[in-house]
Amino acid sequence: MSNNLSLFDITGPIMIGPSSSHTAGACRLGYAARRILGEDVSSVIFHLYGSFKETLKGHGTDRALLGGILGFLPDDIRIRDSFQIADESGVMYAFIKEDEEEDHPNTVKIELIGKTGEKKIVKGQSVGGGNIRITQIDKTNLKIDGKYCTLVTRHWDRVGIVQEVTGILNKCNVNIAQMSLYREAVNDQAYMIIEADDPISKECLEAVQNVAKMQYAAVIDKLY
């Protein structure tokens, strides 16, 4: 395990059982996907790989994934009833077991459609002890572990856009811990992942959304 462990990685997380990787981690993956979509979900398809296929029922992986999509965190007892809650709130869901091998045994690909029609595909892994890693948003490979408040943007690659976004964060008094940039080609679709020490407010997010050539921006709260 990593050298940056916290004592609360040992005693913790507080969670709904029975498995930190297959229940708590699954819930966090669903929760992160919902945040990346940036709006309430109207329908979701979960593609399951490796162990996730096997643990779907017995470890409550299905209820945990769906609970996360509904905005529940791993210690939320409502996870137990997430099918019923999804049905009542008109959220459609499906689980598909995939045969392909993935890098990590606990992998899920989540296809989301939001209430306004916004679509996202989010892929992630449950890497142990309830910790997760988002590895893909739409077609772009990246890495988000949710240990910080994270700003994700999708924009058209152009000169100065990074400076504008970091300038907004500066004005909002948000300190940047780490940041990374991904793009498909020059002047093409690009992503920014900014991990911040401080929470990013709604106003701050809105300012980022209004930057020229910005297509989409979302904040994933600190997940731990």
């Binding site: 004592l7 005693t11 997380p13 059982g17 017995g58």
Partner: protein
């Protein structure tokens, strides 16, 4: 002042240098690493302990099937037996066994628990500490500090070996949990930091090689009763350490050994449900039902 430690030896040196307990050093380390105040860090652990106690209390009064319907009715039976006062173990041990079953049964029916160090091994440390708190009427603050002690032991094990059944078998889960609990108990009952590590070393040694072989891959059989077994092991090890008995092999070397043994375990005995109890006739009959 730097409270970072990696090995058990580092931890002991910090304790003796600052004249603080393992729990106190662990608390300082966490505050420093997370940039939180000592009070904030303490309160987080207090919250965890409260959830642990709730899970034990809920588990002993609930008789309800687990997700896989393999367990769910043992904690209440055990607690009723403890209450009769006729158990062969001391009252404290008998109660701790009941709490251990209670917490793990709660876990297996999607109740709220605290992973310690994992969800599969969540019924050792809380069961021992909660039973001891009640038996000896120990101040809750001291128990929370003992949880810091246990977490420090778990941190060292996670760093130099593993706390994951998929990597190291059950010795890494219930084995680690019982080492954590043994060390915490020694501190609570007035043992020295050195004695805490002796207790942890003894507990971990006693579980070396323990495989992870869950029936149908569920966190139910043998996990729940194995947690209760871990309780007995933790108390046995703490008892020896408090009597002044030392481990011939020092804690740090035992930890590395556990990690090495884990790597030698075939994958069939590391949480894959491909070996051990998971392929017995009884397990196969269960898996092939419906």
């Amino acid at each position: 002042m730097n409270y970072r430690f990696k090995t058990g030896q580092d931890l002991l040196e910090l304790c003796y240098e600052h004249n603080l307990s393992i729990g106190e050093i662990a608390l300082m380390r966490e505050a420093q690493a997370s940039n939180m105040s000592k009070e904030e860090v303490y309160n987080l652990m207090l919250e965890s302990y409260k959830v642990m106690k709730e899970s034990a209390q809920k588990g002993i009064i609930t008789s309800e099937d687990s997700m896989g319907k393999l367990i769910g009715h043992n904690a209440k039976k055990m607690y009723d037996y403890y209450r009769m006062g006729e158990s062969i173990a001391s009252g404290m041990l008998s109660k701790a066994i009941a709490y251990s079953l209670a917490i793990t049964e709660e876990n297996s029916r999607m109740g709220k628990i605290v992973a310690c160090p994992t969800a599969g091994a969540c019924g050792v440390v809380p069961a021992v500490l909660n039973a001891l708190e009640e038996d000896r009427e120990i101040d809750e603050k001291k128990i929370v500090m003992a949880l810091f002690n246990a977490s420090a032991i778990g941190l060292i094990i996670a760093t130099y070996a593993s706390i994951s059944g998929a990597e190291g078998g059950c010795q890494a889960e219930v084995g680690s949990a019982s080492a954590m609990a043994a060390s915490a108990v020694v501190e609570l009952l007035g043992g020295s930091p050195r004695a805490s590590l002796e207790g942890a070393a003894i507990a971990l040694k006693n579980m070396l090689g323990l495989v992870c072989d869950p029936v149908a891959g569920l966190v139910e059989v043998p996990c729940s009763k194995r947690n209760a077994g871990g309780v007995g092991n933790a108390i046995t090890a703490a008892e020896m350490a408090l009597a002044g008995i030392e481990s011939f092999v020092p804690f740090d070397q035992v930890v590395v050994t556990m990690g090495r043994v884990g790597k030698m375990l075939p994958s069939s005995l590391r949480e894959t449900a491909q070996g051990g109890l998971a392929i017995t006739k009884a397990a196969k009959e269960y898996t092939q039902r419906d």
